[in-house]
């Protein structure tokens, strides 16, 4: 296990891919009430046993083949790439998964584990609604009761996703405590879990939280990078020079990064939400403006004041509007293995429109942060460089935000 402040050059030589929790360097751990430890132990044991059980591995792969729609394809985006410079851009199309984003990879895995543990009820938190929709979908598929906690603010700005979850049979509970966003939805889900661990599994939607969540959720999403690495080699004959993804909690980013951690020629770039700018108070640039602390059960970078009170985050994208980040990302940042940069609301929306018009693909606003990063990166990279982007979600859910942003609606909210 690497120690903090150790020489980076020696760190990089080790096998990064094999690193598992509870700690990634000084990050991770279990900072939760004692009441939850037994449930986390049970989850860890169940997951370890499942991972080693060929029938579980096969079952998960079969659901992904016949339900999720895996493997997801790679689409080269030459016209978008031309807007960035003299580079090649490849999109890993997680937007084509069932439910429209990468979130389903983790949800199917954890729902199968919930069944293995004999739990009949799942709870989930959601910001933009993508993880809530994916959880409600898995609950319907596997016959589990489902309660989704969603900040009241988010239920208003993502009303359509609330309707989707309800249609799928889930109960959506608007969270009215604290800042009434994703952070408070997680607090409320943890409170529910403490009271109902006997029959309930907390289906956490990102690579944050107490061990084993960061490792387990990463493993379920690592299918993204594992597929993409083979696809790049088989279809194009080379590994990309850069792998890029957006980072909120960090699940899609770790999912595509993980397969490339031990390929030293591949640069890993995460793009977080700079909101209205990192020098304003309205951003979610955890890596660039935060410092290590404990939030939602793990030690990691987070936005906080000098007293350790969590600061409110802001992003036009509800899915990146989170003041924390998964511990493995904090470790990769401190090792220098991955770089994290901020993208403003405006830069993301500009990239969203550019991909839509150049390639006919409307990305989620979250994903558009990675695309905006690629547009800027084009000027830095050597001519002919290749960039693989995790196209983590489709933009359908964001049409209302986008329509307002681009002035496509009249005063009554109808299309102009």
């Amino acid at each position: 296990m690497p120690e903090a402040n150790q020489d980076i050059s020696t760190e990089i030589n080790q096998d990064l891919r094999s690193t598992v929790g509870p700690y990634f360097g000084e990050f991770g751990g279990r900072f939760v009430p004692e009441s939850l430890i037994a449930a986390l132990d049970q989850l860890e044991e169940t997951y370890e046993a499942a991972k080693a059980d060929p029938s579980f591995v096969l079952e998960l792969a079969e659901w992904h083949r016949t339900y999720t729609g895996r493997p997801s394809i790679i689409t080269e985006a030459p016209k978008f790439a031309a807007l960035a410079g003299d580079i090649r851009v490849f999109l890993k199309r997680e937007d084509l998964n069932h439910t429209g984003s990468h979130k389903i990879n983790n949800v199917i895995g954890q729902a199968l584990l919930a069944k293995r543990m004999g739990k009949t009820r799942i709870i989930a938190e959601t910001g933009a609604g993508q993880h809530g929709v994916a959880s409600a979908t898995a609950a319907a598929l596997f016959g589990l009761d489902c309660v989704v906690y969603m900040g009241e603010v988010d239920t208003e700005r993502q009303a359509l996703n609330v309707a989707r979850m309800k249609l799928l049979g889930a109960e959506v509970i608007p969270v009215t405590t604290g800042t009434r966003t994703l952070k408070d939805a997680i607090n409320e889900a943890l409170r529910d879990w403490v009271a109902n661990v006997d029959d309930t599994h907390y289906l956490l939607g990102t690579v944050a939280g107490p061990h084993p969540f960061p490792t387990m959720v990463r493993d379920f999403h690592s299918v993204i990078g594992n597929e993409a690495r083979v696809q790049m080699l088989n279809e194009f004959g080379f590994l990309p020079d850069v792998v890029a993804a957006c980072v909120g909690g960090g699940s899609n980013a770790i999912g595509i990064f993980h397969a490339f951690l031990d390929d030293p020629s591949v640069r890993l770039l995460g793009f977080e939400a700079a909101g209205e700018g990192v020098d304003t108070l309205r951003h979610a640039a955890t890596m660039n403006k935060g410092r290590p602390g404990v939030l939602h059960g793990a030690r990691s970078y987070m936005l906080q004041d000098e007293d350790g009170q969590t600061l409110d985050s802001h992003s036009i994208s509800a899915g990146l509007d989170y003041p924390g980040v998964g511990p493995e990302h904090s470790w990769l940042k401190d090792l220098g293995r991955a770089e994290y940069r901020g993208i403003t609301d405006h830069e993301a929306m500009d990239a969203l429109r550019k991909l839509s018009r150049s390639e006919g693909i409307i990305p989620a606003i979250e994903t558009a942060h990675a695309l905006a990063g690629v547009l800027k990166l084009g000027k830095e990279l050597a001519p002919g460089s290749s960039v693989l982007v995790n196209l983590s979600g489709r933009g359908d859910k964001d049409m209302e935000t986008a329509a307002r942003y681009f002035g496509l609606l009249d005063a009554e909210g109808s299309a102009k």
Binding site: R30, F31, V32, P33, D198, V294, D307, G308, T310
Partner: protein
């Protein structure tokens, strides 16, 4: 090992057959001055140990009553350093041990050793840490030992024997026996699980002191819990009394619950 002040009081009350009442109040609620006044009044009205809670932005172990109070304290501009000011003022006025209840991040940001040093200097007795399990507590344990402060860890109905033993071994002051699987807040009945948790703690370590918290709000419950444990911890019921009827209401709630012990 020498006995801490908290331990001495709990043991003396146990052997006299009275039992103990531990009362929670959030510092800075509704203002710093008000909270100091309320805490002193609680000590004078019959609590044996004070649990002074630090307001925190993400209190996952707390129910709606304490959440509302601590968020109000934060909205009124509570700063972490005021904790030491409050502890100093309270310990200057009364002799009751003051245990500070805090989530871990504020202490981590302040620096565990610096926090321990300042808490000791202010006259504080130690910390209750609801989201810090013994496994993650090395920094705090080193600091607490250096400044001879109590460290209260939690034991839950779901804790296995090894975890119970670890909580007993690492705790000083008492072990906080969580009465139920859930968050803070008054309940009509104190869960029968509480008795089981205490009995598991006693099995793990016959000498360990253990107090029961979560869900206790009546004099009868305080008496009942003291029959098998070393103290009853009351939080939300006191905060609710203060929120609804101010200082007088808080004082009479404390007197009412403490009176049960002298029956």
């Amino acid at each position: 090992m020498t006995e801490s002040k908290t331990e001495a009081i709990l043991r003396a009350n146990k052997s006299s057959g009275r039992g103990s009442l531990i009362g929670y109040f959030p510092v800075g609620y509704p203002t710093l001055e008000d909270s100091i006044e309320a805490a002193i009044a609680m000590c004078q009205s019959g609590i044996d140990v004070l649990e002074l809670g630090i307001p925190y932005s993400d209190p996952v172990m707390d129910g709606p009553v304490i959440q509302a109070a601590t968020l109000e304290a934060l909205a009124h501009g509570f700063k972490l350093k005021q904790t030491f000011e409050a502890v100093k003022a309270i310990t200057a006025a009364v002799d009751t041990p003051v245990l500070v209840m805090t989530y871990w991040n504020p202490v981590m940001q302040y620096g565990p050793e610096r926090f321990a040093e300042d808490l000791k200097a202010a006259g504080g007795a130690g910390l209750i840490t609801p989201d810090l399990i013994p496994d993650e507590a090395n920094d705090w344990l080193n600091a607490a030992k250096k400044f001879d402060l109590d460290r209260v860890f939690l034991a839950a109905p779901t804790s296995n024997v090894a975890r119970m033993s670890s909580a007993c071994e690492k705790s000083q002051g008492f072990v906080y026996a969580v009465s139920t699987m859930g968050i803070t807040g008054a309940r009509n009945e104190v869960d029968s699980l509480a008795k089981e948790v205490v009995s598991k703690v006693r099995t793990a370590s016959p000498e360990a002191l253990t107090c029961v918290g979560i869900g206790i709000s009546t004099a009868d419950q305080v008496v009942e819990v003291n029959r098998y444990a070393d103290g009853a911890i009351v939080g939300s019921a006191f905060v609710k009394a203060y929120a609804e009827g101010g200082l007088n209401s808080l004082k009479s709630k404390v007197s009412e619950l403490a009176a049960g012990l002298s029956r």
